[in-house]
Amino acid sequence: MPIQVLMPALSPTMEKGNLAKWLKKEGETIKSGDVIAEIETDKATMEVEATDEGTLGRILIPEGTADVAVNTPIATILADGESASDLAKVPAPAAAKQEKPADAPAAPAAKSEPAAAPAAPSAVAPPDPEIPAGTEMVTMTIRDALRDAMAEEMRRDPDVFLMGEEVAEYQGAYKVSQGLLQEFSARRVIDTPITEHGFAGIGVGAAMSGLKPIVEFMTFNFAMQAIDQIINSAAKTLYMSGGQMGCAIVFRGPNGAAARVAAQHSQDYAAWYSQVPGLKVIAPFSAADYKGLLKAAIRDPNPVIFLENEMLYGHTGEIPKLDDYVIPIGKARVARTGNHVTIISWSMGMSYALKAADELAKEGIEAEIVDLRTIRPLDTETIVASVRKTGRAVTVEEGWQQSGVGAEVAARIMEHAFDYLDAPVTRVSGKDVPMPYAANLEKLALPSVAEVVAAAKAVCYR
């Protein structure tokens, strides 16, 4: 049967166009790929190419016709062996229109309202592992806790490897990877050139093929060079592939303000990464959490952003001496209990919060402190349970306030515990400026214990 040529759409939004010119006459031979007509819209002129071979049987829409609707038959092509008499077999344009597949895209739009979005899944993380009575506690720096976590996971799984700048021979720019080269050899502890975008992409590619890279950024400030690979490749591939191809990878390194290194080396990226579905974002404070959560991050089949803090590397803490100490991702920890006000923080912010709680206690205010540990997925349940008890909440972060993690926490409290609030949620954060170098200004740009104390007293109306 003769083939109908339909008015094509040049873009998904085009509904009609002008048939400017016919470049073939009735009776002319047409090969696949020949330009047969020109159509124009207000934006562009385009050529219509034949996708079938034969003879141009009949022109149904003469040139110069304006506002021809998309999918209107504009011509018929006769296949080899067909003649003009076969044209009668072509259904009339109106009938032809009905032949359009019932579920062609125009149709879904015209259909009834789109189905309502299903409820977003909410996963509840399991509690921390039990530490058996009598377990020996080892005092250790966070630096060593991170190293041990990596070493244990590398011993456990030969697909885990570490790559980054100065991780091998230099033993880590901050000595976090001390000794790993000696134990695991240059095959698994890999010094890269200074080329964050490139090695992040190589890490993601290796992960797509099933390896489990730990990619160290000397600081997360440099990861901005690589953020396209982290978000567009690592975070989205599982979804874009319909679940076929994921990416088990950890991006780790120091994040947030160090000391006196000025604006380009002092920024908190927790809020940035926490916005992205497909990523998990972890920012621990205690030594035990650093170890247990890094082990969990390395085992997780998803891309994980593991935000460390340079100022904390030398801090020590007690870590249970267990063969396999893994802390579930997505569970906040109540670091101190109290009934008067909830202070929600994580990473370095916890040091302000804990000191502030001591100060507040002297004035008779018992603060409950929630250490988020994981920023995404955020443990709304633990936050809300605490706020329902205290009726007051203060968030503390080193990052900027606008669209910050504190803003998200405040919104969730409003959504889930509005009726329990006795005061507005208050945010203590880094100031809305690039980090200054001068010692006095730097101090002012960061949150302080005094600010946390003041905020807590304010929400308690004290």
Binding site: M7, P8, A9, L10, S11, P12, G33, A44, T45, M46, E49, T51, V70, N71, K100, P101, D103, A104, P105, A106, P108, A115, A116, A117, P118, A120, P121, F161, R187, P193, T195, H197, G198, F199, A200, G201, I202, G203, V204, G205, A206, M208, S209, L211, D228, Q229, N232, S233, T237, L238, Y239, M240, S241, G242, G243, Q244, M245, G246, G278, N302
Partner: protein, 338 residues
């Protein structure tokens, strides 16, 4: 890198400088595979025109010899990754036309369940790693696939395809550096189709000989007639052997041409119709094979039969892609995390 030694096959070739001839089986395979891509893309263009395919749709018509010739040099387990002009690569890798077309129409039977679209399809089974929409990103990712091969100590090779446009991205050179430094088995296949969207190579590139783009990293490179599937296959054989022998990466600049616009809504004012017609008339990769087969006494009827078989596959794919249901709404939140 010294120029390749002329092989005996080369010297006895009928034309001076012609690539080694194909066997009849190879010619027929190349013809079928290229025709499948050509007809598939024509159909995709048609479905786009009908509104059945949304968003972006970058057709591969004209460039078929590149993926088909490269694929003929690979073995099962070698990996392929490319950018967003990717339908041809998927078909060449052996992915099913129905699943690819259904992804273009956003249906549940698509390779990504309808969640990826034209630019984002993957197949673990066929070792096809996408389908990437950010120009140049696939070069680092493909280098990572090669890294994984090296790490595992196997002899698989990864192919990272990208265009003349992507060749100017910074991460391409970061990847070149590490690939040569670590001797990674990756072939960088630069599909130079002369235009990065609407910008010709002479307007965008200080060095338009893309085979030299690895020179400062000591990566060897060849310029290849990407319209002649035999030339592509011969170049691929050489590059694959280089990589399998753990000598590091290799660059192949495929000089090719896209007949259609950059994407569907491209008015193509940056080049003349005559230019397109000339390439099409003089260099079409499919016509070259057809003409050789006709010269070798294959009949028009036999060739038409092949075309009809290919059209049948494509029509079935188009039919499936238009009637398969859209993904279930419950799929909205799946595949975000494992």
């Amino acid at each position: 890198m010294a120029p390749p030694k002329k092989s005996a096959a080369n010297e006895t070739a009928e034309e001076q400088g012609a690539p080694p001839p194909f066997t009849r089986e190879q010619e027929l395979k190349a013809l079928r595979d290229m025709l499948l891509i050509r007809r598939f893309e024509e159909k995709a263009g048609q479905l786009y025109g009908m509104g059945a395919i949304g968003g972006f749709c970058h057709l591969y018509i004209g460039q078929e010899a590149v993926v088909v010739g490269m694929q003929m040099a690979l073995k099962k387990g070698d990996q392929v990754i490319t950018g967003y002009r990717d339908h041809g690569h998927m078909l060449a890798c052996g992915m099913d036309a129905k699943g690819v077309m259904a992804e273009l129409t956003g249906r549940r039977g698509g390779y990504s369940k309808g969640k990826g679209g034209s630019m984002h399809m993957f197949s673990k089974a066929e070792n096809f790693y996408g389908g990437h929409g950010i120009v140049g990103a696939q070069v680092s990712l493909g280098t990572g696939l090669a890294f994984a091969n090296r790490y595992r100590g196997n002899d698989f090779v990864s192919l990272a395809y990208f265009g003349d446009g992507a060749s100017n991205q910074g991460q391409v050179y970061e990847s070149f550096n590490m690939a040569e430094l670590w001797k990674l088995p990756v072939i960088y296949v630069i599909e130079n189709n002369r235009y990065a969207m609407g910008t010709s190579v002479t307007r965008s590139s200080a060095q338009t000989d893309f085979s030299k783009r690895g020179a400062s990293f000591n990566i060897p490179g060849d310029q290849v007639d990407g319209m002649d599937v035999r030339a592509v296959k011969a170049a691929a054989d050489k590059a694959v052997a280089w990589c399998r022998a753990a000598k590091g990466p290799y660059i192949l600049e495929m000089q090719t041409y896209r007949y259609r616009g950059h994407s569907m809504s491209d008015p193509a004012k940056y080049r003349t119709r005559e230019e397109v017609e000339k390439v099409r008339h003089d260099q079409d990769p499919i016509e070259q094979v057809r003409n050789r087969l006709l010269a070798a006494k294959m009949s028009e009827d036999e060739l038409k039969k092949i075309d009809a078989e290919v059209r049948q596959v494509v029509n079935e794919a188009a039919d499936f892609a238009q009637h398969d249901p859209e993904p279930d709404v419950s799929e909205l939140y799946t595949d975000v995390y494992r």
